[in-house]
Amino acid sequence: MVQPAPASPLFWRFNPEIYQRMGMKCSDCGHITYPRRKICPECGSFNVKEHQLSKTGKVHTFCINWTPPPNLEPPIVNVIVDLDGGGRYQGLITEVANPEDVTIGTKVEMVLRKVMTDRGLNIYGYKFRLVEEG
């Protein structure tokens, strides 16, 4: 797979999106998404503004991948998370001993982790960790 090097402009452009979890919200239809853009993908409105995505949410759906790409150790748990405050986020679960602990509705929070290495450089991003219920 051809992919951008960690030093490429794509990575630089996405810094606020990734590390500050900066997304957008449509002033017309209320759709929340990321990355930021000029036009709402849901309704086509140009009336959009920056929106700070939450770090916490609940699992909307998930799967347990036993045949991930090289450099990922199976099983990995992919999730789509309903973020508190709106919007959905796509990612991986980290630090879970038993994949069966993840189910629809499970509470999770984002933690910064190394997501991959490319040509010797680390690439960081958010993964989801299960929230201990008190």
Partner: protein, 398 residues
């Protein structure tokens, strides 16, 4: 489009692991078969334009930069315009749609739609990775968002939610594989021609829970093409043309996290709605269909999204035999992607070949479905986050 365009010939090669054939040879054999299929004969010179569906652009085999000249060189016809189109898993059926528009435009009387894909020159895992399942960069997004994604993951995220919202089970999914493998046994063009039992599917390794290996379609090489022409001149090529009633592409978000639902694909809903409207018919008017069963759970979702049944009913109807080859509405008599194989850009046109043959009642008696209205539908869904769907409706009469 209805009333303007007809199919007068189709050609396909048996799908499979065709290590001995390059993309060019696959395309040439499908093309020769197609020309030979035209009842009253046709010459290369009769074809005035072509659309070349090709998905990977050669990423699988270093065939980057495939373009119109590639197909022109393969079929030995440089006197016509050819466009290469790409639209995810519906690439072939969308190339067919563009070919139909070309005829409907009045600019070209007779045109070719070709779809071909070489998936097996690389081993499975590497091939999936070449196609972008590997993570970073794909879709122009940050790897943090895409890490660990890929075809089975995308579909499994739907399958889990189908189980949660609709009560579907892994047994329901397995039953789709059982049906389609059974159909594939009778199809000489199919990649996998063996029966599977529900036990065998459920005991096959988990690829991505809740999907087993035998819930996934294979990686397949293949090529398929069709010649379409103005409906009013079709009878000069064959006494049994098949008419294009509707051909439509429907879209949805390219990112999973923008989807409104994981038990429904709006791309399919939109493609079907527009195609039925164009054709002036209803889902009930369709005799049988070829549906995009890249994964078993997808077939159940598609049947509902197309409108063949209500949301949540597809699995029950499957248990009752409703979708069987001898049932009320046969689905995937060719074996579907599951058994027939899924050479991306060839898949959609391969379905059209099958429907052409079925509507002309030319297939083996065992495989032939019963015709009532003489109307067939084919469907694909794919692309980024299943954001693209195509529906094609064919009829043996106008």
């Amino acid at each position: 489009m209805r009333g303007k365009v007809a199919i007068i010939g189709v050609g396909m090669i048996p799908f499979g692991e065709l290590f001995e054939m390059g993309l060019e040879e696959m395309v040439q054999q499908a093309y020769i078969n197609c020309l030979n299929s035209v009842d009253k004969g046709i010459s290369t010179k009769d074809i005035k334009a072509a659309w070349f569906g090709q998905w990977s652009g050669g990423g699988m085999i270093g065939q980057g930069a495939l373009c119109g000249a590639s197909l022109a060189t393969m079929i030995g016809n440089r006197e016509i315009p050819i466009t290469r189109t790409e639209n995810g898993c519906p690439t072939g059926s969308d190339a067919f749609r563009n070919a139909c528009l070309g005829v409907a435009s009045g600019v070209y009387d007779v045109v070719l739609a070709m779809g071909a894909e070489k998936m097996r020159d690389k081993p499975g895992v590497e091939s999936l990775i070449a196609a972008g399942g590997g993570g970073g960069g794909i879709l122009g997004l940050h790897p943090s968002w895409m890490l660990g994604m890929g075809g089975p993951v995308l579909q499994a995220l739907y399958a889990t939610r189908q189980m949660h919202e609709l009560g579907y089970t892994m047994e329901d999914y397995a039953r789709v594989a059982v049906k389609n493998h059974h159909n594939g046994v009778a199809c000489p063009y199919a990649h996998y021609r063996f029966e599977v039992t529900m036990e065998r599917v459920l005991n096959s390794p988990i690829v991505c829970w809740p999907l087993h290996l035998l819930d996934c379609c294979p990686q397949t090489d293949g090529a398929a093409c069709a010649i379409v022409c103005r409906a009013d001149i079709a009878k000069s090529f064959t006494d049994k043309p098949v008419y294009v009633l509707g051909s439509n592409t429907g879209l949805d978000h390219k990112n999973m996290w923008d989807k409104h639902s994981f038990v429904e694909m709006l791309s399919t809903v939109r493609a079907a709605r527009g195609a039925f409207e164009m054709a002036g018919i209803k889902p009930d008017d369709v005799d049988f269909a070829e549906i995009h069963d890249c994964f078993t759970n997808t077939e159940l979702m598609n049947l509902e999204d197309i409108g063949f049944c209500k949301k949540g009913e597809a699995a029950n109807l499957l248990r009752e035999g409703y979708w069987n080859r001898d049932g009320a509405k046969p689905i995937n008599p060719s074996g579907g992607l599951k058994a027939h194989g899924h050479p991306i850009a060839a898949t959609g046109i391969g379905q059209i070949c099958e429907n052409y043959w079925q509507l002309r009642e030319e297939v083996e008696p065992e495989r032939q479905v019963k015709l009532k209205n003489g109307i067939a539908l084919s469907h694909n869904v794919g692309g980024d986050a299943f954001g693209v769907s195509c529906v094609t409706i064919l009829s043996r009469s106008l």
